[in-house]
Amino acid sequence: MKALRAFVIALGFLAAALPLLWMGITSIKHRDATISQHPKWIPAPAALDSSSSPFFTVTTEALGGLSKVHAGAQHTFLEHLRNSAIIGVLSTIASVLLGTCCAYGFSRFAIRGSKDWLFFILSTRFMPPLAVVVPVLLMYRRFDLQGTHAGLVLLYTVFNLSLAVWLMKGFLDEIPRAYEEAALVDGWSRAQAFVRVVLPEARTGMAVTAVFCLISAWNEYGFAMTLNSSGAVTVPAYFAGLQGNIEGMPWPQVAAGALVFVAPIVVFTVRMRGHLLRGMTFGTIKQ
């Protein structure tokens, strides 16, 4: 039983880690080595690199190429990364602020039909982006928001609201009301109590919510690709556009870009590991 356990864990670990490790290896190869019929997985001096050996020559060509414009492209990878960062960060701030206020309202006040409202908020998350994107596109054309940072910031803010409200409601429900009641008794207004008592208590919850909003904006593809195919293109939309590249896929660049793109997410995952369950289930599961 113990051996079986260890075997299952080892297999799962390899399945999760090897593709990521291979991504790192691919990002420091020359393109020829990435399409070699022999797996090249050991970095070695150039002398050992032959067509049938497992050795490959290390190069920073692909990683350095992230700041260069490639054939057939208009922008460098780093410019797309900047678009992703701007859109991700701004929309995250907006979602967390709006979501926290809304969650506080549902957490502390008797709102008529609050259950139905919360269901409505959650149901927006279940919507396939493709089902609402056409009217949004028509609206964005009308207001010149297509292909702009502002357009996607707005859309991602709304898209992440369901997550922000549900997560924050879980966190705010855990803060004892006695804290605010004490502040009210001291003569503070509701708004003051919210800002000065509740928000500091909800710091962790807001940080967790922010990370989850940031990750889902960072990774989003459906809206990014349909609305921002020409301007303010984010990394996922840029990457998917590489599919069917006439020159043949620039695999080292793809791997290098993917590596740079997923690195912050990996860091966040490690930092947030205690909150993953909550974040992935809209805060519904107790830990």
Partner: protein
């Protein structure tokens, strides 16, 4: 875990353990009356609507309004380029239900959801069982196992098409080394959907594992101790205790994952593109019709049909969460 008292919505004013009348005369509450008199925010009133209002308005503007617009569009012959469209009645809907392409995409998506969810559930649950006990290095291994579900499907999908490449992909090189067949994963008609399924399983098995672990850790040790006293066999313990006690949370995981897999778009786009006869799912069919063929009206009719399914699933999900909450398993 939150204190049970805050679960019910009780008036803010009622002090614990005192009658309301007596509570009204405590010195603290006289101060409270003064505070609310000054600000006028007694039961929330304007404040509560200014807290929840902006969010609800935005959601209505970006979800409800587009949906209604979609319904209108689905009765017209609107196109992506060019102005002017006219009302054409339910012709698109007639087409949706007689269109073999839609039927195929629907069936394929259903099969994809069923396969992906069940494979992920099985592997995820097995991993969770294996990871149940503590061992040195567990946190690091657990975190590594969870990474794939946090990554971008579009970016990882593109990268996976390198791994899956039939000629030089590392997967086939490994399979060849151990003497297994090496299918042309991303170009062979019969294997394309399997490739997408494979990447989906890679990405989302951790999610099932995560929830299964939560389910397992919620089973009280005393039940296992009792089973041990009764000399229950391992199999009995598994089928009578572990599985049934995990089932409610696994059900939640299945629902969440199913609604997500139903929308599957990113991986299909990154691995085969939207118009591949062997892999077209509902979302990619929608994309093809609207953005490649430019038929907005028809696409909207597809979208409205798909939405019925989505709304049904969302309803099931919230009902389910409610039931979990009654049993103390959810917030």
């Amino acid at each position: 875990m939150r204190p049970p008292a805050s679960r019910e919505r009780r008036p803010l004013l009622r002090a614990e353990g005192r009658s309301t009348v007596r509570a009204l005369f405590t010195p603290q509450l006289l101060g409270y009356h003064f505070a609310t008199m000054r600000t006028g925010h007694d039961r929330g009133g304007a404040l509560k609507w200014s807290l929840v209002g902006p969010t609800l308005l935005l959601l209505v503007a970006f979800n409800v309004f587009p949906l209604l617009w979609n319904v209108v569009l689905s009765f017209t012959n609107a196109e992506l380029v060019g102005e002017g469209s006219r009302f054409i009645g339910g012709a698109h809907y007639a087409r949706v239900f007689s269109d073999p392409q839609f039927a195929i995409a629907l069936r394929r998506t259903a099969a994809f959801v069923a396969l992906a969810v069940s494979i992920e559930l099985a592997i995820g649950f097995a991993l969770a069982l294996a990871l149940r006990r503590d061992f040195p290095g567990k946190p690091a291994i657990l975190t590594t196992l969870l990474v794939p579900m946090m990554l971008s499907p579009a970016v990882m999908g593109l990268y996976w098409s390198l791994v899956l490449n039939g000629n030089y992909g590392i997967l086939n090189q490994i399979l060849g080394a151990v003497g297994l067949p090496q299918p042309q994963w991303v170009t062979d008609r019969d294997w394309k959907l399997v490739s997408i399924l494979l990447v989906d399983v890679w990405m989302w098995t951790p999610f099932m594992m995560l929830i299964a672990l939560a389910g397992l850790s919620a089973i009280p040790a005393s039940i296992y101790e009792a089973a041990e006293i009764d000399r229950a066999s391992r199999w009995t313990v598994f089928t009578r205790i572990t599985l049934p006690m995990c089932a409610p949370l696994l059900g939640l995981a299945v629902l969440l994952r199913a609604t997500d897999a139903l929308k599957q778009f990113d991986l299909v786009m990154a691995i085969t593109g939207p118009n591949d006869g062997a892999t077209q799912t509902l979302s990619t069919l929608l994309y093809q019709v609207v953005f490649r063929d430019g038929k907005v009206g028809l696409g909207s009719a597809y979208a409205c049909t798909v939405l019925v399914v989505v709304v049904a699933l969302a309803t099931v999900f919230t009902r389910y969460v409610d039931r979990l909450r009654e049993r103390g398993l959810a917030r």
